[in-house]
């Protein structure tokens, strides 16, 4: 097969290496060179680096299809999902990878977004609140919902908790307790859902302060870097108007 002889260009991938589990380890940039293959993604490249050059390299991938949100990292300065980032997108062939800031570092490119997102879910009560739910008879027809409304809820539910919005958030950098766009999107999603019986006042209790909706400085990093193209700006503006009008 003639294709096999064709040589790919040489990629230079620089990675911030640091293992906090190892006493005395210090952060450093390490550059790896490898041959680019057709259709290569950063997922494929990182695995190759681990298998060929350094088996201690840490990173997180699960679905490797852009669906599960595990692999957010800073790629050439911008937060994105690494699994679906084709190396061919980077014309110079030089790619710099850093872990997402704003999350606890596990090691190298691996950060603890899971812990953060669980805390976020607990903080905002990320579930349907309905006292009567347990009495619903599951043998009977489900409650009806307008088809258009179901579609709209799904639009807001598409967040994969990758953390790109949190990393790109200027406000978050200054306010450690700031909820961030993933949290607002979740609130907006439940607010839109008639099955959730929380009132506007209940929502105010959760986000009606400077760590919540009033803290947002509208720098819109969230909107710019959301890999799922969620309408963060519109939803934040909507929640803010709603909350302002309450008090």
């Amino acid at each position: 097969m003639s294709e096999n002889i064709e040589k790919g260009r040489i990629l230079k991938i620089s990675i911030l290496r640091f293992n906090p589990q190892l006493k005395g380890d210090k952060p450093k940039m390490v550059t790896y060179e490898l041959e680019e293959a057709p259709g290569m993604t950063i997922f494929i490249a990182l695995n190759e680096i681990r298998e060929k050059f350094d088996s201690s390299l840490q990173f997180d991938f699960v679905c490797r299809a852009g669906i599960c949100g595990s692999c957010g990292m800073i790629i050439n300065g911008q937060p994105d999902l690494a699994c679906r980032a084709l190396t061919s997108k980077y014309p110079s062939g030089e790619i710099t990878l850093m872990p997402l800031p704003a999350f606890e570092l596990i090691g190298d490119l691996s950060v603890n977004t899971g812990k953060f997102m669980r805390a976020m879910s607990e903080r905002i009560g990320s579930w349907i609140h309905d006292q009567a739910m347990d009495e619903i008879d599951l043998t009977r027809l489900e409650e009806k919902m307008e088809p258009g409304l179901a579609d709209k809820i799904y639009e807001l539910e598409r967040c994969v908790e990758c953390g790109c919005c949190i990393s790109a958030c200027g406000t978050k950098r200054m306010r450690e307790e700031f909820l961030g766009a993933a949290g607002f999107m979740r609130i907006a999603r439940f607010h839109m859902d008639p099955r959730d019986k929380r009132t506007d006042d209940d929502i105010y209790e959760i986000i009606g302060d400077d760590d919540g909706i009033f803290g947002c400085m509208s720098l819109l990093g969230c909107e710019d870097y959301c890999p799922k193209d969620l309408p963060h700006q519109t939803q934040i503006a909507y929640l803010r108007r709603k909350m302002v009008n309450l008090r």
């Binding site: 293992n19 679905c63 990320s126 179901a150 579609d151 799904y154």
Partner: protein, 656 residues
């Protein structure tokens, strides 16, 4: 020595594990979930197309009910399933979906009035009933008589998993993330929990519990190209088998999905064909109607995958640097439909292939997709041989799928089994207490500690990544869609060799805390055992059934092979699994073996089949006044936890 005590230990934070955890927590038992990754990142999130439940609300689903769903499931399984379990399943699926609706899943709904759909490559108008407006709708999927697959666009797994995980958070169920169960603790045929490695600190912990549930998903990654997430490595099944007491069922039953993209193997959902997409060859020709004039592209998955492979072998594939493939054409569905209902597919095409499926054909090839095999359980979900050990979801061989599972029946299984098995797990917690000396726990911990010490110290010179990819290649090359005795023998021989080599793995990175190479070194020998179970099971099974297709034994042979394969690994020093069989009793089947209706039927029938067919007829004749529920009960009684026994209501039909 760190020991964590709980009542209900659930290994796995996907749909099945979380739903079990909610069931036991609701019944008042202390519950802990373990997961390799944050629960919401479990592979369940990647399910796209939908969940089967016979709600019959859309006009194309009218007339659907448990009986039709049961028939499709049994046929789909090529009569390899446990029919009582299939009945438990079909009766609970409508309740499961309605429960998820109350928990917040934004199921797509019926819109009354006219709507254009694509059926058999033609645009047709269907008219939805007024009274169904706003109820949960469904799409068409392979191997089903009715439109039964409920969905939220093509992000069904995501919305289901988020709803269930959010519910678990509401119930304050702790999910211990980045923890890997690496051995089970057991004595005298009772399971007491697991030895668990913290993937960040490297610390080993013992989790001691009244019940242990394996809900760790499939084992697709023993193959080099798979639609599965990269964490689907079957470690849960492997540690259950390593007890020497629990058995794995039907490991050779491995499903290949017709339409994963080439070369990376990412799935495009069956919903593409369900919604009207077509398969085309290198000439742009739609070939499926030639092979399967009845169901065409929507024949059962195993059938479509085989037909595609046959067609490629005839030279009709599209050549590419990654080998031949075929085309999936969804252009006929139009931009609006794709943007709304197939948007994950669209994103995948854009990012990984650089194409627009609204205009371009998608390069696809059959690819490893689903593990029908798993930890063998009773209908209650408990291992028949190791008390207190349960399994649910893809990790289990509860056995509603037999030798081929229908699309949409798997996410449905996870939540349905979660509801059913969850109650039985809670019953077990109620009736039992843990009586176990810490000495025993210590022994198990020490044993795992020692193995890891040895792994780190080993200087045998073998590279774990090389062994892993050699295993994956053997499975791809010799244990694929079409199998032959010669190939399977090569597979077994090669895998045995690799297993020997795996005893000499040397890791370069010698640290104990988070260390991806050490993780591989712990897992790969376990995966090799699973691969041997698959290959050996396939070699011994000299017939073709569902997804197991032997070119040297093309007939389904009920006479000799209407049985479930059980594999045991009784001693670590054994080179091979011990293989035993469990008969499926035709005389208790509600639906005695028949033809699936694909290709020519060359089944070798079992003598009991004719007897049972006559008996079923007699029972029907003798009870002319019985309604369908009563008749079902006469033919094949089955049990369910009391709260799940009720009949299901349908629009326009009530509880009939």
């Amino acid at each position: 020595m760190k020991i964590v005590y709980t009542d209900s230990l659930v290994i796995g934070g996907g749909l099945a594990g979380l739903r079990i955890a909610i069931a036991t927590k609701k019944r008042g038992f202390d519950t802990i979930v373990l997961s390799l990754v944050p629960a919401k990142r479990s592979h369940s999130a990647a399910a796209q197309g939908g969940m089967q439940a016979s709600l019959g609300a859309t006009i194309k689903g009218v007339g659907d009910d448990e009986d039709v769903h049961f028939g499709d499931t049994v046929k789909g399984s090529d009569w390899g399933c446990d029919q009582a379990v299939a009945r438990m399943f079909v009766n609970t699926a409508p309740k499961a979906i309605r429960e998820l609706s109350t928990w917040g899943v934004p199921w797509s709904r019926v819109q009354k009035g006219d709507r254009q759909v694509v059926v058999n490559a033609e645009k047709v108008t269907i008219t939805e009933n007024d009274e169904a407006h706003g109820l949960i709708t469904a799409r068409d999927f392979g191997g089903t008589k009715k439109w039964r697959t409920c969905y939220t666009a093509d992000g069904t797994g995501h919305t289901m998993l988020y709803a269930v995980d959010n519910k678990a958070i509401e119930h304050e169920i702790p999910v211990h993330e980045r923890k890997e169960a690496i051995a089970l603790i057991h004595k005298d045929n009772v399971c007491y929990g697991a030895v668990v490695r913290d993937l960040i600190t490297g610390e080993l912990l013992a989790y001691v519990a009244k019940t242990t549930t394996i809900a760790t998903g499939g084992y697709g990654r023993i193959y080099s190209v798979s639609t599965n997430a990269i964490i689907c490595e079957g470690i849960g099944q492997a540690i259950a088998m390593e007890t020497g007491v629990a058995a794995l069922g039907n490991m050779e039953a491995v499903q290949f999905h017709p339409t994963a993209i080439v070369p990376v193997g990412i799935l495009t959902t069956e919903g593409c064909r369900g919604d009207g997409g077509l398969l085309r060859d290198k000439d742009g020709y739609r070939f499926m109607p030639d092979y399967e004039p009845g169901k065409k592209e929507l024949a059962s998955r195993d059938v479509v995958s085989r037909r595609m492979t046959e067609h490629i072998r005839k030279g009709k594939g599209v050549p590419s640097r990654y080998g031949d493939h075929l085309w999936l054409d969804i252009t006929i569905l139009g931009k609006e439909h794709i943007d709304k209902n197939l948007r994950e597919v669209k994103e995948i095409c854009e990012y990984f292939l650089g194409i627009d499926p609204v205009k371009d054909y998608i390069p696809v090839r059959p690819t490893q997709h689903y593990s029908m095999g798993g930890l063998r359980t009773k209908p209650t979900g408990e291992s028949p041989t190791l008390k207190g050990l349960f399994a649910a979801g893809e990790a289990a061989c509860w056995d509603m799928h037999g030798f081929n599972r229908l699309g949409g029946n798997s996410v449905a299984e996870t939540v349905v089994a979660g509801m059913i098995v969850g109650e039985y797990v809670a019953d077990f917690c109620e009736e039992n207490s843990v009586n176990i000396e810490t000495g025993l726990v210590e022994t198990f911990l020490k044993q795992e500690e020692k193995k890891i010490d040895e792994l780190i110290a080993n200087e045998g010179g073998e590279n774990v990544y090389e062994i892993k990819s050699a295993m994956q290649k053997i499975m791809m090359d010799y244990v694929g869609i079409f199998r032959t005795g010669d190939d399977l023998e090569k597979a077994v021989k090669g895998l045995k060799e690799l297993r020997k080599r795996s005893k000499n793995i040397t890791i370069k990175n010698k640290i104990r805390s988070s260390n991806p190479e050490l993780v591989e070194a712990i897992r790969v020998p376990k995966m090799l055992k699973l691969a041997l179970c698959v290959a050996q099971g396939a070699l011994l099974r000299t017939e073709s059934r569902g997804a197991h297709s032997r070119e040297d034994f093309t007939a389904r042979d009920d006479k000799n092979w209407l049985k479930r394969t059980l594999t045991y690994w009784r001693n670590e020093s054994d080179e091979m699994p011990e293989v035993e069989y469990e008969d499926l009793d035709i005389m208790t089947m509600e639906m005695p073996p028949g033809s699936r209706g694909y290709g020519t039927d060359n089944t070798v029938h079992h003598p009991d089949t004719a007897k049972r067919v006559a008996e079923v007829e007699e029972i029907k004749k003798a009870n002319p006044k019985a309604d369908r529920h009563e008749l079902q009960h006469l033919l094949m009684p089955y049990d369910l936890p009391e709260r799940l026994r009720g009949k299901n209501e349908r629009v326009g039909r009530g509880f009939k």
